[in-house]
């Protein structure tokens, strides 16, 4: 079996200590070890953004990060965006504007939006375009996504 390393981290607010295989991606670790399947795999080479998670508050493509790099860090996935059974304002805006169709890119899109709104309270179209340019949506919900992000910022 592959060599493992013990790592300690927080995931969605909970402290965890686990064995991570050397060479395993954070994406695989999140889906296969932590069983948090809301994070999606689309390309595994950092091109599509479907696997975006927050690592120490910053959006990263989890397919480009190794699981062992999680040691000592704080991980937030889509499962923790709604709090106490209540949707985050971003999630509600995405619903209000129907800012998704198949929904496969949506977890990554919402995580990237979360990071954007942490940085900028009132993002412009250019800010949104820049922040979400790494999240591909083949259904083409971009117009609705722009509206949803702006609306969420206002809430």
């Amino acid at each position: 079996m592959a060599e493992c390393v013990k790592i300690s981290f927080t995931v969605n607010g909970e402290q965890e200590t686990r064995d991570a295989a050397v060479g395993q991606t954070l994406l695989s670790f999140i889906r296969d070890e932590l069983h948090l399947t809301g994070t999606k795999s689309g390309c595994e080479i950092g091109e599509c953004g479907a696997c975006t998670v927050l690592l120490n508050g910053k959006p990263v493509n989890s397919c480009l990060v190794l699981a062992v790099e999680l040691d000592g860090k704080d991980l937030v996935t889509i499962e923790a965006i709604a709090k106490d059974g209540k949707l985050d304002k971003i999630q509600q805006s995405f619903i209000d504007h129907a800012a998704f169709q198949c929904g496969y890119c949506t977890p990554g899109m919402i995580i990237s939006t979360k990071a954007l709104l942490e940085r900028k309270e009132n993002p412009t179209d250019d800010d949104i375009n820049e922040a979400l340019s790494g999240n591909l949506c083949r259904c083409g919900a971009y117009q609705e996504i722009r509206a949803a992000v702006k609306d969420a910022a206002k809430k």
């Binding site: 399947t37 390309c43 080479i45 496969y104 340019s133 591909l136 971009y142 996504i145």
Partner: protein, 769 residues
């Protein structure tokens, strides 16, 4: 029609909360249990005999359970023309064709073992464009074409590379050209593209000791998967369960079946395991259906008044190595070959040709984007020659109520004029804007039309169960790939049953529990499945009235239902809730009245006919959906960069079940069309696909997607449920020609192919100089 309460309103998607919280399950999220991982060994030549295939080293590799080769699969697979091996046998026909399948306890081990398989090929001469393939001395790609099973509306020609030749003859083109004042002939080319859904193709299978096969699949049609597996593996349908989940984008690429068959023998060999295959991005791009390239010659005869008198369209399609599905795209493009225009005399020949390129197959538009690229570019040439307004040419020839299509089918409920005038108005057609900083501006428009491409026996069904508390479940076989099927079906049921949408549950299909639906393709579901759901709801409501009549002792015709109570119109005290009717169905005496209420509805189109094999005449369309696209662009002549300033898109939905979701579809199709207009082209070098990832194969991202002005036109479709027609594919069709027409207007040069990359635009502009 009485006023609608739910159909035509915007309600939130049924799958909304699941999809924004990460709770929505896609198929891979449901691959549970002891897993086996499958990885394909792929051919390194595009056309060759397999001289040696040594799997022994892979078999010995620790963690490998087995390695399968083509001989482990007893039959071929194919929807219309059964021409495809699951794994190549004796020869390979395209680069990347699977030659062996490793089964291992982890993905990593499977991938490592693939490298230990030793294959030697005797390379055969390849054919990489259909013209080469049509030459009399061309290498034959399918030697046994004549022995393949084929649906008898397709015409493969044994001893050639022609997988289908669709012929259409309407009127008399000799006479039509003789009547013309002007004849224009041009060539057009549309390259291959890929769907690239963000979720790649995936499948898994489990074999139970009692001979039950369970398959999990990303396919757009679980019923067709079941049908093809039943045939390929000689299993009765009740022993095959195909489970669908939310699909992470389909766009036609997940129509039919492929991977599902690959996993079955593995599951059979290892009962109790879940054998899974998950394509990575590169495998998905290279190994799944691509849009077939089209090479076409289009000739029209036109009178000085702008009326087109004759059209001759020759389309040669690069079907790739296997054309099991592609043969029907070629047929569909053939019978629709006048686009949105009525032309009295038509001669069309549409050829599906085998090459050693990647497999061609269905993509959103199903031949219409390619075929109407020619039509809509051609309209510009006609307008220029006649010095007429391109909008006017389109209005003069555009279809209206009572017009006949190329196939001779009479179209009804058409308002193409409104569709195209709406987008023209939006972009201020006819008003030329000056460019700035040396850039040049131009405007372009395009019409579009599409009917679902389906066999005339493609049917549909629905079941609605009313619960004891008056809530309901809808069961359908349609899949949810983002188009909003779950929501639209709930709204249709709600409209009839008066049960609010939030009290209706609807799930994605599972063939053991949900009734038959042919395929979720062809923009047909809102119409076909919608009709089934409407009928099932009417059936359930009829049962409710019958039971209520007995319960309340009131004649049925005296009863009415306000959404809360069923009551007598003569005595409002005689009333019952749906829950009361659905629950006990008992009188106070305790005598039973009716059992649980289960509504049933089914649908098969009655207005489609077979086409005459010689003339292609008949009724291929269940309904025709028209629309239009308008664009304004700014082009930098120094760099060739095209910036889209305005993009307007209209579609005649008949009736938008959910206007918000309808607009989402309209925007999504328009954006996909824009992406193909500006960026997308699969590139091959002697069959080797060169751009196999999102860096090399660019698609629209948010930062390069302009605002779209969208318009839903509602000319009711008489036969559709509540006047509905499907619109999923159509918005894509007009975008590439509208953009090209606009760029042409800006620069004064013509484009007979796309995408309009800076390189292509710059070169075309400078060649002119």
């Amino acid at each position: 029609m009485t006023e609608l309460k739910c159909v035509g309103t915007t309600v939130a998607r049924k799958d909304a909360i699941e999809k924004v919280t990460g709770a929505a399950e896609y198929i891979e999220d449901r691959f549970l249990g002891p897993l086996l991982y499958l990885k394909m060994k792929k051919s390194t030549v595009a056309h060759g005999k397999i001289k040696k295939l040594d799997i022994s080293r892979a078999l010995e590799y620790p963690g490998v359970k087995t390695v399968l080769t083509g001989k482990d699969y007893k039959s071929k697979i194919g929807l219309y023309l059964v021409d495809r091996d699951f794994i190549a046998i004796d020869k390979v026909r395209y680069w990347g064709e699977p030659v062996a399948l490793v089964v291992a306890v982890s993905e990593k081990i499977a991938a490592e073992a693939v490298e230990l398989i030793d294959v030697e090929y005797e390379e055969l001469p390849g054919v990489f464009d259909p013209f080469e393939a049509l030459k009399p001395d061309a290498p034959i790609i399918h030697e046994n074409l004549g022995s393949y099973e084929v649906v008898p509306i397709f015409y493969p020609q044994e001893g050639t590379n022609i997988a289908n030749h669709f012929k259409l003859r309407k009127g008399d083109t000799d006479q039509g050209f003789a009547e013309a004042d002007l004849i224009i002939e041009k060539e057009y080319y549309v390259p291959q593209m890929q769907h690239v859904p963000i979720e790649t193709h995936k499948a898994a299978a489990h074999w139970s000791p009692d001979g039950k096969l369970t398959v999990w699949s990303t396919a757009q049609s679980p019923n067709v998967v079941r049908q093809l597996l039943a045939k390929s593996f000689e299993l009765p349908m009740h022993k095959i369960r195909v489970i669908s989940s939310f699909i992470g984008g389909g766009f036609g690429g997940k129509a039919g079946a492929g991977l599902e068959g690959l996993v079955v023998p593995v599951a059979q060999k290892f009962p109790g395991y879940v054998a899974r295959i998950v394509l990575n991005r590169e495998e998905d791009m290279q190994g799944t259906f691509t849009r077939q390239a089209m090479y076409a010659t289009l000739k029209t005869g036109v009178k000085i008044n702008g009326k087109i008198t004759a059209l001759e369209y020759k389309m040669i399609w690069d079907g790739g190595a296997y054309t099991e599905y592609g043969v029907n795209i070629v047929r569909s493009a053939g019978y629709s070959s006048t686009g949105a225009y009525e032309i009295p005399n038509v001669k069309t020949d549409s050829y599906c040709v085998y090459t050693n390129n990647s497999i061609g197959g269905p993509v959103r538009g199903f031949g219409m984007c390619e075929m109407q690229w020619g039509i809509e570019r051609h309209m510009e040439y006609i307008a220029k020659e006649l010095k007429m307004d391109p909008l006017e040419i389109r209005l003069i020839n555009g279809m209206k109520n009572g017009s006949t299509t190329a196939a001779g089918q009479v179209v009804e409920d058409v308002d193409f004029k409104k569709c195209i005038e709406t987008v023209a108005d939006q972009i201020k057609w006819g008003k030329k804007e000056p460019g700035s900083n040396g850039k040049l501006r131009g405007k372009g428009i395009s019409g579009l039309v599409k009917c679902p491409a389906q066999p005339s026996n493609a049917s549909s069904s629905a079941i609605i169960r009313i619960n004891e508390d008056g809530t309901a479940h809808i069961m359908v076989g349609a899949t949810e790939m983002g188009q909003g099927m779950l929501t639209a079906m709930s709204q249709i049921a709600s409209e009839i049953l008066h049960i609010p949408v939030e009290k209706i549950d609807i799930k994605v299909p599972d063939t053991d529990f949900t009734p038959y639906e042919w395929q979720s393709v062809g923009s047909r579901i809102t119409y076909t499945c919608g009709t089934s759901v409407k009928r099932a709801a009417e059936d359930a409501l009829g049962q409710i009235y019958r039971a209520a009549s007995d319960l309340l002792q009131v004649p049925q015709e005296e009863l009415t239902f306000d959404g809360k109570m069923i009551y007598s119109t003569k005595d409002a005290n005689k009333k019952a809730t749906i829950a009361e009717v659905a629950d006990s169905c008992k009188k106070c005496t305790g005598e039973g009245i009716a059992g649980p209420i289960i509504g049933r509805g089914s649908f098969i189109p009655s207005n489609m006919t077979n086409l005459d094999p010689e003339t292609g005449q008949g009724n291929p369309g269940m309904f025709y959906c028209f629309g239009a696209t308008g664009a304004e662009v700014e082009v930098d002549p120094e760099t060739g960069v095209v910036t889209v300033l305005q993009l307007a898109s209209s579609i005649d939905a008949g009736k938008a079940v959910n206007p918000q979701l309808c607009k989402c579809q309209l925007h999504g199709g328009t954006i996909m069309g824009l992406s193909t207009a500006l960026y997308e082209e699969v590139k091959f070098d002697k069959g080797v696909m060169l751009n196999r990832n999102f860096t090399d194969y660019k698609i629209s991202s948010i930062d390069n997607t302009p605002h779209i002005d969208s318009f839903i036109i509602e000319t009711p479709e008489t036969k559709g449920p509540f006047g509905v027609r499907g619109i999923g594919e159509q918005p894509m069709i007009g975008v590439a020609p509208a953009i090209a027409n606009a760029v042409s207007d800006a620069l004064g040069v013509e484009f007979n192919t796309f995408p309009l990359t800076p390189e292509r635009v710059w070169k075309t502009l400078h060649e002119k100089k």
